[in-house]
Symmetry: C2
Subunit: 200 residues, 2 copies
């Protein structure tokens, strides 16, 4: 391979990441070559360390390291073991933890039902979820799966699976985002917000 | 370091690349962890191969490999050795080669004079350019440096340096891009296009 072919291979690997188009992947790859090797070495070392150490928790599917298995959130004794929050992706856990308002356990599905992207029910960690609901005795399952069509379809499917298992199934409220106004909200969001209105 | 800290390190390295903000770097890093290691391994191997093999040509500064030094474009016998095209970045060579309309040599400055970005005259490969003009006996130097303020300032500076060295200094025409119309061009571009008008 010549130099450009090597960079094209880097660009192809970068273009598979979310939000990165072919053109910006090329710009990134070429800039790695142009910066006298420092940026390239830095990225390489960071990726090597991540590749050697980062793993997904065998229990919840969240991000952890080889030497913390199960992860801190699964093994923490101070957390509420009666409620589990089901999410699509490990990074959803990071976002939820940032709020500081959930203190239960997590379970990552590793996707949602999405025939268009080739993700079917079989690819999801649903068996593991059913097993945990049984084994860990959760009394509530929160389906925090995103308010798009795929997220809602997956939530409906999981709720159906959990029926008759003596567990309360909930999902986060959908409505007007904090800081936004009535006039800036789309009709669907407003309809949801009205339907889910709360007594003051 | 825990898993998230490893990913944050990857995100920090990615965020240094052009066009990548902190948020999209985080999304990229988390997606690398979520995809069961395949995307991570692929990117890691591509970067490793690039890091081991890709080098900048000692002569022109373009992209090449360890075992092609000087690069193909510098050592090609079929190219015109009387004209050198001076560019800002190795990737500019790729863009110019794609046109198929330049068959001379190249010289990469590795930047332009840009006090705002901490790039001064000293960081550029100007000594090497003057040496090559002398040693290789170019009769024309094309300053293909971009039509922004920094590119034009650098072109003016290099042209001044080359004065009295018995070499013709030129730069590419500035004007209306192919496929665009008069009404879509900004005033500066139109003024340039008029000033540089050609006899039919």
């Amino acid at each position: 391979m010549n130099g450009l072919e090597h960079l094209d291979r880097v660009a192809a690997a970068l273009a598979k990441l979310p939000g990165i188009g072919r053109r910006s992947a090329e710009r990134m790859a070429y800039s790695l070559a142009g910066s006298a090797g420092n940026a390239l070495r830095e990225l390489l070392e960071a990726l090597k360390a991540a590749s050697d150490n980062v793993r997904l928790c065998e229990r919840c599917g969240g991000i952890t390291t080889l030497d913390e298995m199960p992860c801190r959130l699964c093994s923490a004794t101070g957390r509420d073991s009666t409620v589990v929050c089901v999410v699509q992706d490990p990074s959803d856990i990071v976002a939820l933890e940032r709020t500081g308002s959930f203190k239960g356990r997590y379970h990552v599905l590793m996707g949602v039902i999405s025939p268009l992207h080739g993700e079917s029910v079989r690819d999801l960690r649903l068996g593991a979820l059913l097993h945990r609901v049984e084994a860990e005795g959760f009394t509530e399952v929160i389906l925090a799966l995103g308010m798009d069509v795929e997220g809602e379809a997956t939530a409906a499917y999981v709720a159906e699976l959990l029926k008759g298992r003596n567990v309360k199934v909930t999902k986060p409220a959908s409505g007007i985002p904090v800081g936004s106004g009535i006039r800036y909200s789309d009709a669907m969001t407003l309809a949801r917000a009205l339907k889910g209105r709360q007594v003051l």
